[in-house]
C-alpha cells in the first residue's frame, strides 16, 4: 500500500517484528513439536527430551502406523469420502446457485426457493431428530451417510449466487439472443467466469470432508467404517474400553504411546498441508466474497 511513505520508528519497528515473530512461533510450535515427537524414539519422548527437534531420530512410529490395517482402512475411507463428496457438493452447489441467481422477473419463485434453503441455516431439528431420519432412510453404517445428508452446502450456495449475480448481465443476454438456453448459459458463460470462486469452494469442501469426524462417529456403528478423523477421535482422544474388543485393547496399548500418537496425528495433517499453498492462494478471494460483501 503506502508502506514506503511512512515507517515505524526504528525501535518500535523492531519490537513489532519481534512480537509478530513470537506469535508465529507460538502458532507453529505445537505442530513442530508433534512432528519432532513422531520422529523421536519412544524412550526420548517418554523422558521429555523432545522439544522442537527429533531426538534419537527414527521412523519406527510411521512404519508402525502404516502397518496398522485399521488406520490404513480409515485413511482410505476418508480419501474416498473426499473423492465422492466433493463432486457431489460442487454439482449441487452449482445447480442450486444458478436458478437462485436469476432475476426475480424471470423466475418468480426464486425467493421462495431462496428461503427454502436459507431456513435450514437458521433453524435445524437438532441432533436427535437428524439421527433418527438418517436411521429411517437406512444410511446408518453406510458410506453414503457421510455424503448424502450434507450434500447441499447452503453457505457455499449463497457465495456462488452472489458471484453469479455480479457477472455482467449483458453476457448472458447476448448468449440468450443466440438461442442459448439455461443450461448453455450456466455451462458456457457463468461457470467459465467463476473459476476462481469455484476453485475456492472446491478446496473448502475438500477440507471440510477430510476434517469431519462427528458424523462418522454417530452414524457408523462399526469402527471399521470410520473415516480417519472419527477413528483418531476414538483411538487417541477418547479411547473408551467399554466399546472395545480384547484385540482392540491390546492394539490400543501398543499404539497409545506418544510417538505413535504423534505420527498418526501428523499423517492426518499431511493432506491439508499438501493443498495448503492452493488454499492460501484462493483464500483472500473466498474471504472477501464471504464475509465482507459490500
Amino acid at each position: 500500500m503506502n508502506q514506503k511513505i511512512v515507517r515505524l520508528p526504528f525501535l518500535q519497528n523492531i519490537l513489532n517484528l519481534a512480537i509478530l515473530g513470537i506469535i508465529a512461533l507460538v502458532c507453529a510450535f505445537p505442530i513442530l513439536h508433534t512432528l519432532a515427537l513422531s520422529l523421536s524414539s519412544a524412550g526420548a519422548a517418554a523422558s521429555g527430551r523432545v522439544t522442537i527437534w527429533p531426538v534419537e531420530f527414527t521412523t519406527q512410529s510411521y512404519r508402525f502406523v502404516l502397518e496398522n490395517p485399521a488406520f490404513m482402512k480409515s485413511f482410505g475411507i476418508s480419501l474416498q469420502r473426499v473423492l465422492v463428496g466433493v463432486p457431489v457438493n460442487m454439482i449441487l452447489t452449482i445447480l442450486v446457485a444458478y436458478p437462485l441467481s436469476r432475476p426475480i422477473q424471470k423466475f418468480r419463485q426464486r425467493d421462495f426457493f431462496a428461503w427454502f434453503f436459507l431456513i435450514t441455516v437458521l433453524f435445524s431439528g437438532g441432533l436427535i431428530p437428524f439421527y433418527m431420519v438418517v436411521r429411517q432412510t437406512g444410511l446408518i453404517d453406510s458410506f453414503w451417510a457421510l455424503i448424502i445428508p450434507g450434500a447441499v452446502p447452503v453457505f457455499n450456495v449463497i457465495l456462488l449466487v452472489n458471484t453469479f449475480r455480479n457477472i455482467p448481465r449483458e453476457l448472458e443476454e447476448a448468449a440468450a439472443m443466440d438461442g442459448a438456453g439455461h443450461w448453455t448459459i450456466l455451462f458456457k458463460v457463468l461457470i467459465p467466469m467463476s473459476i476462481p470462486i469455484l476453485a475456492t469452494l472446491t478446496l473448502f469442501v475438500a477440507v471440510s470432508h477430510w476434517n469431519s469426524w462427528f458424523d462418522g462417529l454417530i452414524l457408523m456403528n462399526s469402527p471399521e467404517k470410520y473415516p480417519l478423523q472419527s477413528y483418531l477421535q476414538t483411538v487417541i482422544i477418547n479411547p473408551d474400553p467399554r466399546f472395545m474388543s480384547e484385540r482392540d485393547l491390546a492394539l490400543l496399548r501398543m499404539i497409545s504411546n506418544r510417538t505413535t500418537r504423534a505420527a498418526q496425528i501428523f499423517i492426518a495433517m499431511i493432506p491439508i498441508m499438501v493443498i495448503y499453498p492452493f488454499l492460501q492462494r484462493f483464500f483472500v478471494t473466498g474471504i472477501k466474497l464471504g464475509s465482507v460483501k459490500g
Binding site: 431439528g125 445428508p149 483464500f283
Partner: protein, 300 residues
C-alpha cells in the same frame, strides 16, 4: 398465457433445483418434524407416532436439572470470552502486520498463523492433550524452567474455560486477521498521504484513519457473532473435556449429546436442543437485522 410460457421456459430451473430440494426436505426439514419429540416421552421402538404426549414435562424436567443453569452459564461464559478475544486478537495482529514493511516476513507470518484454521479439532485436541499434559507435556515442562508449578490445563475446572478460550484463539485468530487485513487494504491510500503532509505520526494515523476504516467490518462481524452466543464450540470441547471439568466446561451441545446419544433420553435431549435452536434463531434474526441496519450487510 404469459405465465405458462414463463413456466415452460423455466423447466430447466426446476430440474436444477429438484435434487437439492428433495435432499434438503428429507435431511433438514423432516428432522424439524422430529421436534415434537420434545413434547413426548419417547419409547424405544415406538418412534414419534407411537410415543405418549407429555406436554411441557421434558422442559420442566430440564429446568429442574441441578446442572442446567450451570451449563447455560458455562456456554455463555465460554462463547462470550471467545467472541471478545476473537475481535481483539485479530484486529491487533492485523494492525501490527500492516506496519511491517518486509514483504517476505509478512507473508511468512501470515502463512504460519492461518494454518491451524484448516486443522480439525480432533487433530488439534490430539496435539493439545499431549503438550498440555501436567506430567509430561512440553508446555508444563517449559513452565518448570521458569519455576512455575505444573498446571492441569484440561483437568482443573478453574483453568479449563480459559484453556478453551486460549486454544480457540490459537486456532482461529489467523483467519480473523486475514479478514481485517483485507479490510485494511481497502482504505484509501490518499488519506494516509494527506496525514503525512499534516505531520501525523504512525500512531495517530492508526487511531484516526486505520481504526475508523475497519470499524464497519468490526461492527459487522461482532453483530453477526451474536447469533453464535449459544455455540461455545462443540467440536473443541467435546474433544478436550472430561468428567473432571463438567462443572465449568459442560455446554449445551455436549449435554444434548450425552443425554441423547449416550443415555437415549431422546425427549429430553430434543427439548434442550429445541431451547437452543429457538434462542439462536431469535439472536441470529436480531443480529442480521442489526447488521443490515448499521453495516449495510445483506446475505443475498
Amino acid at each position: 398465457m404469459q405465465a405458462r410460457r414463463n413456466f415452460r421456459q423455466n423447466i430447466p430451473l426446476y430440474l436444477m433445483l429438484a435434487p437439492a430440494v428433495v435432499l434438503v426436505l428429507i435431511y433438514s426439514y423432516t428432522p424439524m418434524v422430529g421436534i415434537v419429540m420434545a413434547f413426548q416421552r419417547v419409547l424405544p421402538g415406538k418412534g414419534i407416532f407411537g410415543s405418549p404426549w407429555v406436554g411441557w414435562d421434558n422442559f420442566i424436567f430440564v429446568l429442574q436439572m441441578p446442572t442446567f443453569f450451570q451449563v447455560l452459564w458455562n456456554t455463555l461464559f465460554i462463547a462470550g470470552l471467545k467472541t471478545i478475544a476473537g475481535i481483539l486478537v485479530p484486529v491487533t495482529v492485523a494492525l501490527m502486520l500492516n506496519n511491517v514493511t518486509g514483504h517476505a516476513f509478512k507473508r511468512t507470518v501470515q502463512t504460519i498463523i492461518y494454518l491451524p484454521h484448516f486443522l480439525s479439532w480432533v487433530i488439534l485436541a490430539g496435539i493439545f492433550i499431549d503438550i498440555l499434559s501436567p506430567s509430561d507435556g512440553v508446555v508444563n515442562q517449559m513452565l518448570g524452567w521458569v519455576g512455575i508449578q505444573p498446571i492441569f490445563f484440561l483437568g482443573n475446572d478453574k483453568v479449563f474455560p480459559w484453556t478453551m478460550v486460549a486454544t480457540d484463539v490459537w486456532k482461529s485468530f489467523g483467519f480473523g486477521t486475514i479478514v481485517y487485513l483485507s479490510a485494511l487494504t481497502d482504505i484509501d491510500p490518499a488519506l494516509y498521504e494527506a496525514a503525512v503532509v499534516d505531520g501525523a505520526s504512525r500512531w495517530k494515523q492508526t487511531l484516526y484513519i486505520t481504526l475508523p476504516g475497519i470499524a464497519g467490518t468490526i461492527i459487522m462481524l461482532t453483530t453477526l457473532s451474536l447469533g453464535n452466543i449459544l455455540n461455545a464450540g462443540f467440536d473443541q470441547i467435546f474433544n478436550l473435556y472430561s468428567p473432571l471439568v463438567y462443572r465449568t466446561g459442560d455446554i449445551i451441545d455436549t449435554l444434548v449429546y450425552r443425554t441423547g446419544i449416550l443415555n437415549n433420553q431422546y425427549g429430553i435431549a430434543t427439548a434442550v436442543g429445541l431451547f437452543k435452536s429457538v434462542v439462536s434463531l431469535i439472536l441470529i434474526g436480531t443480529a442480521y437485522k442489526l447488521a443490515a441496519k448499521f453495516a449495510d450487510y445483506r446475505i443475498f
